[in-house]
């Protein structure tokens, strides 16, 4: 019989606190904008940081506040972006799929290191030691600062060069920001020509440092049937809207410094 009194006491106390909490929850309810949750549901949830916010939650809140723009997230699908736009009453157009591309082919074989680097294994650190082990001042250093920040595990370093898995890459842009030499850029996924060398060195020096260096000969620009390629300030620039991916430039390039996507 002794069990009944304590059991009843605890039961009544529980009931009282339950009622109190229920009342407090109603009384002190913080009105949250339910759109934040809806938007959050539609965002990819990878927390990659590509938009500059620490998480998808933070981005959703800023989106609803109207601080961030709807096109800042490169990862979300066009379908979901349209849904978010509908929720927020914004206008959006479908974005073309892009993919991070390494604009350098200076792997260990093509561009041998100037010296053996044994310091801290990070590109930015290596740059502090007589300007990095690679001879080309615009080339990839290959110690994987990009791979370290990729939230989608899309980057692997193979023979001193990042290789991007285009199926995993969502073009969030964190690797673009992490690269101290701006070697990585988000380029269209469709089959267009991609100039894969950014060197500013004169042809002779460029060839001495790297087998696949652009020598600024202009063969690609001269032979392009669509006139989609320009040579500006020593940089090959492809107009992706005009390029049809015919591959003439790839054939004509003497150093194989320009390639089609997924070749």
């Amino acid at each position: 019989m002794n069990i009944i009194i304590p059991a009843a006491a605890v039961g009544i106390l529980g009931l009282l606190f339950g009622l109190l909490l229920g009342y407090a929850a109603k009384k002190f309810e913080v009105k949250a904008d339910e759109r934040v949750d809806q938007v959050r549901e539609l965002l990819p949830g990878a927390n990659c940081g590509g938009c500059g916010n620490p998480s998808c939650d933070a981005y959703a809140a800023r989106l609803v506040e109207g601080v961030s723009g709807i096109n800042e997230c490169a990862v979300v699908s066009n379908e979901n972006r349209a849904k978010i736009a509908a929720i927020l009453g914004l206008e959006t157009t479908a974005m073309e799929r892009t993919v991070a591309t390494v604009l350098c082919q200076g792997c260990g074989k093509n561009s041998p290191a100037r010296y053996e680097y044994k310091g801290v294994q990070s590109c930015r650190s290596a740059l502090l030691v007589v300007d990095g082990p690679k001879g080309c001042p615009q080339g990839c250093i290959g110690l994987g600062d990009c791979a370290a920040v990729c939230a989608f595990d899309a980057i692997k370093i193979i023979d001193g060069l990042p290789v991007i898995d285009e199926n995993k890459c969502h073009a969030c842009g964190t690797c673009v920001a992490a690269c101290p030499r701006q070697v990585i850029r988000c380029l269209p996924y469709k089959r267009v020509a991609r100039p894969l060398c950014r060197t500013q060195l004169p042809a002779k020096d460029a060839r001495a440092t790297c087998k696949t260096a652009c020598i600024h000969c202009g063969m690609c620009a001269r032979n392009c049937p669509q006139k989609a390629i320009k040579l500006e300030n020593g940089q090959v620039i492809v107009d992706e809207a005009l390029c049809t991916g015919c591959g003439v430039c790839v054939e004509k390039c003497p150093t194989k410094a320009i390639k089609l996507a997924r070749d």
């Binding site: 100037r114 010296y115 990070s122 930015r124 502090l128 007589v130 020096d205």
Partner: protein, 455 residues
């Protein structure tokens, strides 16, 4: 005798081998004849680079300006030989980058540019401090100790600060190097003349010459030469690395501490290297700008020497002059073993800050793999700035620059004491240097943003 020293940390590299200085200590400075061509880099100092002002084919004399500074924190560059300019092109620089060099074909006559003007002591007495400072600037004088900070910037003290101490750096605490030591022995009068000129510019109460006690002859020579010059005094310091670092030297000689994040002028001091003093004397009394310097070529070379080289001579020429490499060479360093910059190509050219060319064989240079931090705290005891190098390094590797800044990464002087004592052979200084570079970048970005916002 109670010797002066800085209070915290420090290491004694190669103490049992007389800091490696026995190789060249007793060798008098010899002139290294310049080669057929010299390639003079347009980047020779901390701060802004220079713009070449000569054209290909132009005849230049020794001491003629070939590079004009692009900014206040910079010093002009002068031709170190006479002859014809044959090219202006990008070559490998000691900092590993391809930078513009002016290449001059040496005619072997060393014809001195007629525009240079020497001053007698009577003329100097009539000059104002500003006029003297202008001569220092025009002579392209930068800190000869290795950091190559333009000397005229050090000498322009803001009006709200008062400098009452001139500290002369004769510590030469880097192992192996004996360039400053030989200079103090052989050109003690020049050093004292330079100090008198600097005292006229800054009008301090005292000039203290700090010399470590492993150089007794230099101490004696400087005491002899400084006799009768009011205010000049030699401070004998205990041999300890990094005694020749600005902040440590000030503490050892004057007992003052430079506040965190501030300059020596905030402690009422200006620190100048003995080599710089001699260069100032050269510039004012003989009219000769900084076109040559004393460099120690030592280590695994057949005949280690102290040489006077003209700026723009290549490392390989200097090494050939000293009999070439000897044995199994592992490392080539521009500067001393603690703070010098390792080179991968001996085709680079000597700049105003090349205090030594050090060749290390397998006995000294080994490349152990780094292992995990043991948290033993040896680096904390060794740090002369009282920092926790292990913590800064760990935050730096996690790319957490805010935490690295909280652990006062910006106070690091990059002396290398922590890496030297680390039993795990961790690249601590490199980690800290990365943190410093990133913190600096973030600060600059913030300042730029604020500027934009203010508009």
């Amino acid at each position: 005798m109670n010797l002066l020293k800085f209070s915290r940390g420090g290491v004694s590299p190669l103490h049992s081998e007389h800091e490696g200085k026995t190789l060249t200590e007793k060798k008098p400075v010899v002139e290294l004849p310049a080669g057929k061509t010299v390639s003079i880099p347009m980047v020779q100092n901390l701060g802004a680079p220079c713009r070449p002002v000569v054209t290909v084919g132009q005849e230049v004399g020794v001491g003629e300006v070939i590079g004009e500074p692009l900014g206040f924190v910079a010093a002009p560059v002068h031709a170190s030989v006479s002859g014809k300019v044959i090219a202006v092109r990008d070559l490998l620089h000691v900092n590993g980058k391809l930078l513009p060099h002016v290449i001059i074909e040496n005619d072997g006559e060393y014809r001195v540019n007629s525009a240079l003007k020497a001053h007698t002591w009577e003329e100097v007495a009539a000059l104002s401090p500003e006029a003297l400072g202008k001569i220092v600037l025009d002579a392209g004088i930068v800190g000869a100790g290795g950091a190559t900070f333009p000397t005229h910037v050090k000498l322009s003290i803001p009006a709200d600060k008062k400098v009452d101490m001139l500290v002369i750096n004769g510590a030469e605490c880097e192992p192996f190097l004996t360039a400053d030591y030989r200079l103090m022995l052989e050109q003690s009068q020049d050093v004292i003349d330079g100090i008198r000129l600097l005292m006229q510019i800054l009008s301090p109460d005292k000039a203290l010459i700090g010399i470590e006690d492993n150089k007794p002859k230099a101490i004696e020579a400087m005491q002899q030469a400084g006799k009768g010059v009011p205010g000049v005094q030699v401070c004998v310091m205990r041999t300890k690395y990094p005694q020749g670092s600005e902040k440590q030297l000030i503490e050892a000689c004057t007992g003052r501490q430079v506040p965190s994040g501030k300059l020596p002028a905030d402690a009422g001091c200006v620190v100048v290297n003995v080599g710089t003093c001699a260069a100032v004397a050269d510039a004012v009394l003989r009219g000769m700008p900084m076109v040559s310097r004393i460099t120690t070529v030592t280590g695994a070379v057949r005949e280690p020497k102290n040489v006077r080289v003209r700026i723009g001579t290549s490392f390989s020429e200097a090494i050939d002059f000293c009999g070439g490499y000897e044995g199994d060479v592992k490392k080539l360093i521009s500067g001393g073993p603690m703070m010098g910059v390792t080179q991968f190509d001996d085709g680079v050219h000597i700049v105003k800050g090349t205090s030594g060319i050090l060749v290390l064989n397998a006995g000294y240079a080994n490349y152990p793999d780094e292992s995990s931090c043991l948290h033993c705290g040896k680096c904390v005891y060794a740090c002369p700035m009282g920092l926790m190098p292990l913590k800064i390094d760990l935050w730096s590797r996690k790319k957490n620059w805010e935490m690295a800044e909280d652990y006062l990464a910006m106070n690091c002087i990059e002396c290398g004491s922590c890496s030297y004592v680390c039993p795990s052979k961790r690249h601590i200084v490199q980690g800290i240097r990365l943190a410093k570079a990133e913190i600096g970048r973030i600060r600059r970005e913030k300042a730029a943003k604020q500027k934009e916002g203010g508009k």
